[in-house]
């Protein structure tokens, strides 16, 4: 560019008072506030209801022996399952990331795959084959084996990027290997581990189908009963507020326990792997058992009921329709949440202030709410302000997007950390404008994360039950609602094809997620 051209540009730009760095920040904050606002709609609904019903009425609903039972059930279940998932998740992550286990890549994908099995299908599998699996311990078994991948994924990723030098230094200071691992590595994976545990415990609070099948009473099942059977909105709201309170406790606990973030450093070399030696077959058997329990059992049950069940038919048309509806709703919802997670993730990672942290944290609370409550909330607002939307496909999609937005955010945050702002600065000095930088630098670097967030939301949304039951457009069924309808009638044979199709539909993003994880881990370890 000639000097005269530079001068002209300079003159034309002189009018602008502020550089557009500020403008970008404003845009980011605005977008994030809108997203957080949408994510907080369910909470707003609950508070509105509470005010309408009045505190005395709420208090009388809550001050019952039933509440104590529910609280005891929910708390002990949350504690047991979270600890179980944490132990299994960390152990499995260590096996695939820090040992010389044979067939590591295959194990990695297999260990993520249980995400593709809806928890209620897992519960159905166990309970229908072994009726002894029910109640508290049955629920602990099913939920632990179903949700450990949510701990495994972030912990394995953190183990890959953990600095092996620290471990070495700890060993030279006289720690034995196990102690060295505990002191340094556990310290480094702590944020990832706590993040995983948080998601597991929040999802537990909201889970309904599994506990209904396993005949275990939690807040979530009781809220459903109060509402569906008694049409008792005040009671449902009061119980939901207790869930919100528990969720808030969990969120605060996580922040307090996590403490300040551990700075992560790019690795020079891959970490050393422990030699398993003679233990290798034992570890393989243990992992195979884990995969068998979490994938094998439901598969076996589905095949068994399909072959044995007197009610089996293969309703090809309705199956195809339900599969199509599921795929359409879930991909639309996944796209929306992933898209919405980008500005929030950018804001939290690049401008870490109290406000941005609070904004991010506040969106997690929706994970603790049963789908039914979220659906009630959004239904309430749509009837009031957008009556044409009520029970439309659009509303269901939006509900899914709100419900699972936090999951997309968790994945996107990790992804944004891979695309530091420094790269964009350099790109600007090389003469590229805002749009060009986004297309050529930011987007390609975020793409794997976008796909992973999309896959995760798709996966979880495809198994959604209670919100769908309330909001689905007339005449449209999803795989989950059809499965639910048949199992409620004990028509296991008819239900089986829906469960199988559901697992197949979920398998695609599940495998995608596994491969994405393989890739980012590989790149991170190498760079």
């Amino acid at each position: 560019m000639t000097n005269a051209a530079v001068e002209m540009k300079a003159a034309s730009l002189g009018v602008r008072r502020r550089p557009h760095v500020r403008f970008g920040r404003l845009l980011l904050v605005t977008a994030s506030l809108i997203v957080a606002g949408a994510a907080l709609l369910p909470l707003a609904f609950l508070l509105l209801q509470a005010v309408q019903v009045g505190w005395t009425e709420l208090w009388s609903v809550l001050w019952r022996p039933l509440t104590a039972t529910l609280l005891w059930n929910t708390v002990r279940l949350t504690v047991c399952v979270t600890i179980g998932a944490a132990v299994i998740g960390v152990a499995a992550a260590w096996c695939t990331e820090r040992t010389d286990l044979p067939l590591r890549r295959l194990w990695t994908v297999l260990l993520v795959l249980p995400l593709a099995v809806p928890d209620f299908v897992l519960g159905f599998g166990w309970n229908s084959l072994a009726p002894g699996v029910y109640g508290f311990w049955g629920s602990v078994l099913v939920m632990t084996t179903g949700s450990y991948p949510l701990v495994y994924l972030p912990v394995a990723a953190a183990l890959r990027s953990a600095d092996p030098d620290l471990e070495d230094v700890a060993r030279t200071l006289g720690s034995r290997r196990a102690l060295a691992f505990a002191r340094t590595v556990l310290q480094q994976i702590r944020p990832a581990l706590l993040g995983g545990c948080l998601v597991v415990s929040l999802i537990l609070l909201a889970e309904f189908g599994t506990f209904e099948i396993l005949r275990f009473q939690t807040f979530s099942t009781e809220i459903f009963n109060e509402f569906e059977i008694g049409f008792n909105t005040p009671a449902a709201c009061a119980l939901s507020l207790v869930l919100v309170a528990i969720g808030l406790c969990l969120l605060v606990t996580e922040v307090v326990v996590r403490g300040p973030g551990v700075p992560r450093r790019g690795l020079g070399r891959p970490p050393r792997r422990a030699r398993l030696g003679k233990l290798s077959p034992l570890v393989m058997i243990a992992l195979a058992a884990l995969v068998g329990v979490s994938i094998g059992v439901p598969l076996w049950a589905i095949v068994y009921w399909f072959v044995q069940g007197s009610s089996s038919t293969l309703p090809a048309t309705s199956l195809a329709h339900a599969a199509l509806a599921t795929a359409a709703y879930c991909s639309a919802a996944a796209a929306i949440s992933t898209f919405a997670a980008v500005p929030v993730a950018l804001l939290v990672e690049r401008r870490r202030t109290r406000l941005s942290m609070l904004l991010e944290r506040s969106t997690y609370i929706v994970l603790a709410l049963p789908g039914l409550v979220v659906a009630l909330a959004l239904g309430y607002f749509s009837v009031r302000y957008f009556p044409t939307l009520y029970q439309s496909s659009g509303e269901l999609v939006f509900t899914y997007a709100v419900m699972f937005f936090p999951l997309a955010l968790v994945v996107m945050r990790g992804s944004v950390a891979q695309a530091p702002a420094g790269l964009e600065d350099v790109a600007r000095t090389l003469g590229h404008g805002r749009a060009s930088i986004f297309l050529r630098i930011t987007l390609p670097l975020l793409l794997p994360g976008l796909l992973a967030a999309f896959a995760l939301v798709f996966l979880v949304a495809s198994t959604e039950l209670t919100a769908t039951l309330l909001l689905h457009p007339t005449g449209v069924e999803t795989l989950a609602t059809q499965f639910w309808a048949y199992t409620s009638d004990f028509s296991y044979g008819a239900a089986a094809p829906y469960a199988l199709t559901l697992m197949l539909v979920a398998m695609v993003p599940g495998v995608m997620l596994g491969f994405w994880f393989e890739r980012i881990g590989g790149r991170r370890a190498a760079s």
Binding site: M1, V6, G14, A427, R428, T429, L430, G431, H432, R440
Partner: protein, 355 residues
């Protein structure tokens, strides 16, 4: 002709006043180092010149045209200044050629320049990266990465490159060799370069001019020889190289201090009777025999640091107020700790009147 002219630059981040009234200029085709301890505002200064930060006051001019200040702000993408940040910041998803060609895409969107582009070839050649065209950043060594970052910065540039501690992440050996290489590449491409560093060796050996920065203000700007030989203030003297700063008084045109009489090698000697602080570099002090002529001082060797090519002695002077002086000697025959020595100073490099 001046390539960069900074005048009265001011920058604060909230309460923190990072740059205060900075003024200096960089001649075209020269290599200027900005030397200062960490936290002195070096990186902020560089980012302001690049346009990544906007000045709160003062002006930045490139090639005589104001790009920041007096109501004007030219964004970084229109300044076309090459910028090499600390860790290189290569685009991890692009190979060597695409990284280098990234800044050449301007105005030719239908076809991205590749390895066959003349400018890319030239830069690969100049930086010695031929043969590595298809490698991704994580497949390169630290030195190679820095060379790619430099080539990328040079590619579209208006002839100005800013380097932010480009060698700090490398090990000592690679650092020395890459230092020479960088200077070579910059000279061959006749670029104007501004290098930020906290390493005085780097600044002294690479640059034509050094801006000494401390807490956001300029202590001195001078060529390396002048900065070392004629520092403007005791502070500048202390920051660049080893220095003996001794208190004394001017008598008969020379300084009288704990080293005895020291000749002042200066154009303007302060009048007799002035209390002064003088600077004597370690290599301006010699060991002399006990019976030698002239003014000398006795002391005991308190410490001996062997560096191979030379030896640094810390000598505690007898009878004085406990002053230590540092002496640089050549060769391994230097006296050991505890030995008595007699010192003589050739001349002082500078003298500043004390208030």
């Amino acid at each position: 002709m001046t390539a960069i002219e900074v005048n009265g630059l001011e920058k604060s981040f909230g309460e923190r006043h990072v740059l205060r009234q900075l003024s200096f200029s960089v001649p075209e085709g020269s290599l200027t180092a900005i030397l200062g301890p960490s936290g002195s505002g070096k990186t902020t200064l560089l980012r302001t010149i690049a346009g990544l930060e906007r000045a709160d006051g003062g002006t930045v001019a490139l090639g005589g045209r104001v790009v920041d200040g007096s109501g004007v702000f030219v964004p970084p993408e229109r300044r076309l200044i090459g910028y090499v940040p600390q860790e290189g910041a290569l685009f991890p998803h692009l190979n060597v050629v695409s990284n280098i060609a990234f800044g050449l895409e301007h105005g030719r969107r239908w076809r991205r320049p590749g390895a066959d582009d003349e400018r890319v070839r030239e830069l690969l050649d100049v930086t010695g990266l031929t043969g590595l065209e298809r490698r991704l950043p994580h497949q390169l060594s630290g030195g190679e990465r820095q060379r790619v970052a430099l080539a990328r910065a040079l590619a579209p540039s208006s002839g100005i490159v800013l380097l932010d501690e480009p060698l700090s992440s490398l090990d000592a050996e690679l650092r020395t060799s890459l230092r020479l290489e960088l200077v070579d590449v910059l000279r061959r491409s006749s670029a104007t370069a501004v290098l930020v560093t906290h390493d005085q060796d780097e600044a002294l050996s690479m640059s034509d001019s050094i801006v000494l920065l401390r807490q956001g203000t300029i202590v001195q700007q001078a060529g390396p020889v002048e900065l070392y030989g004629r520092p403007a203030t005791p502070e500048a003297a202390r920051f660049v190289g080893y220095s003996n700063l001794l208190r004394g008084r001017i008598e008969r045109g020379a300084a009288r201090c704990s080293l005895g009489w020291v000749r002042l090698d200066l154009a303007d000697v302060p009048p007799d009777g002035t209390a002064v602080e003088i600077l004597v570099r370690p290599e301006q002090i010699r060991l002399v025999d006990a019976g030698a002529n002239g003014s000398a001082a006795d002391g005991v060797v308190a410490r001996r640091d062997f560096h191979g090519h030379d030896v640094l002695l810390r000598v505690r002077l007898d009878g004085g107020p406990g002053e230590d002086v540092i002496v640089r000697l050549r060769g391994p025959e230097a006296p050991g700790v505890g030995q008595h020595v007699r010192l003589q100073a050739d001349a002082a490099a500078a003298a500043w009147p004390l208030p």
